[in-house]
Amino acid sequence: MINDKDSQKIVDYIQNFARKQSLFVMAYGTGCGAIEIPATMTSRYDAERFGIRGAATPRQADVLLITGYLATKTLKRVIRVYEQMQEPKYVIGFGSCTINGGMYFDSYNTINALEQYIPVDVYINGCMPRPESVISGFVKLQELIQQGKADNGKKYRENLEWYRTNQKKIIKNWKMPDYNW
């Protein structure tokens, strides 16, 4: 009964509905984009009406927002946070800097394409994206979750070798605990 395809569909639908309606965002800002988050959360744009809410620790969080440029030093911390998060987990790349380096494309210390290091579900472009575009990015993520397309945690686990190679290219002194999920 439980392995029946149709009943599985219903279960998936309910699960995805709950996941999309309740997104706990990891309160961790990497660059200048973090300043847009208070504006998105507070009274003018009010992201909480979509069920978007801050979570203080990676254990409770669903969404990791990479807000703006990502220095190599920060990348190490981002990877640690990402690996501590529990599945299903989503990543939103925020601002031009996460897409192609933005104005820091020739900097010696910031990465240029985020999805080479951790899988990204949604990119929001702009420098900076306004709160409207942030909310539209979240809505896009909700659509992906409802369609069941946002399973990047699994992708990361399966292609861990490839991601690790890329990460170790940047982080030369790799002294990180191994997570076995």
Partner: protein, 191 residues
């Protein structure tokens, strides 16, 4: 020049105490050019005798054409209300500078930053080798002969379509059909 009496007075007292050159830039701004070995003496003199008790800033400039590094110490007197710039030039090969964190404790932070970004050694400097960067084993990145774009292209993954990033001035001039002015050309990224 009647307004600049206190600045001129400061410059006179410095030049009479040390064999250095200097000039008054404008009101409340005085700069002196010192030899490498005299810097700590000047700073100590300014602090103890002239009331420049605050090290506001300390920075470094890479004059690659002259093959020199220039170190600039900005100190401030709350009584005279004057910024005094003490400037010195040191050789670019095996650069080394006297450590002044015995005069001002906060110099430690600036010196660590300069050591990391320019590779200038300060003997006796306390603190980790890493300041802002982590595990950096290339040439110090703020030196002019460090090609940051080349490094970024080699190290980080470029998104296709981004590598033709052009100078903003050229893009604007192409779009509007005007020429880039001559004075702006020397700042152009495309050589």
């Amino acid at each position: 020049m009647t307004e600049l009496i206190k600045e001129q007075h400061l410059l006179d007292s410095l030049t009479s105490a040390f064999k250095i050159k200097g000039r008054v830039i404008r009101d409340r701004r005085v700069e002196v050019f010192a030899d490498k070995k005299m810097v700590s003496g000047i700073l100590l003199f300014a602090k103890k005798q002239l009331g420049f008790i605050h090290l506001a800033h300390m920075t470094c400039i890479d004059w690659i054409d002259e093959n020199k590094f220039e170190l600039i110490y900005t100190i401030w007197s709350p009584i005279e209300k004057i910024h005094l710039f003490v400037k010195t030039k040191i050789e670019r090969e095996n650069p080394e500078m006297e450590n002044i964190d015995s005069i001002w404790d906060q110099a430690n932070t600036y010196e660590r930053e300069i050591r990391e970004m320019f590779g200038i050694q300060f003997p006796g400097l306390i603190g980790e080798q890493d300041f802002a960067l982590e595990d950096w084993d290339e040439m110090p990145p703020m030196r002019k002969d460090f090609d940051t774009k080349k490094y970024a292209l080699e190290t980080y993954y470029q998104r296709p379509g981004r590598e033709d990033a052009k100078d903003v001035r050229e893009t604007i001039s192409e779009r509007s059909g005007t020429k880039v002015p001559d004075f702006a050309k020397k700042y152009s990224r495309e050589k």
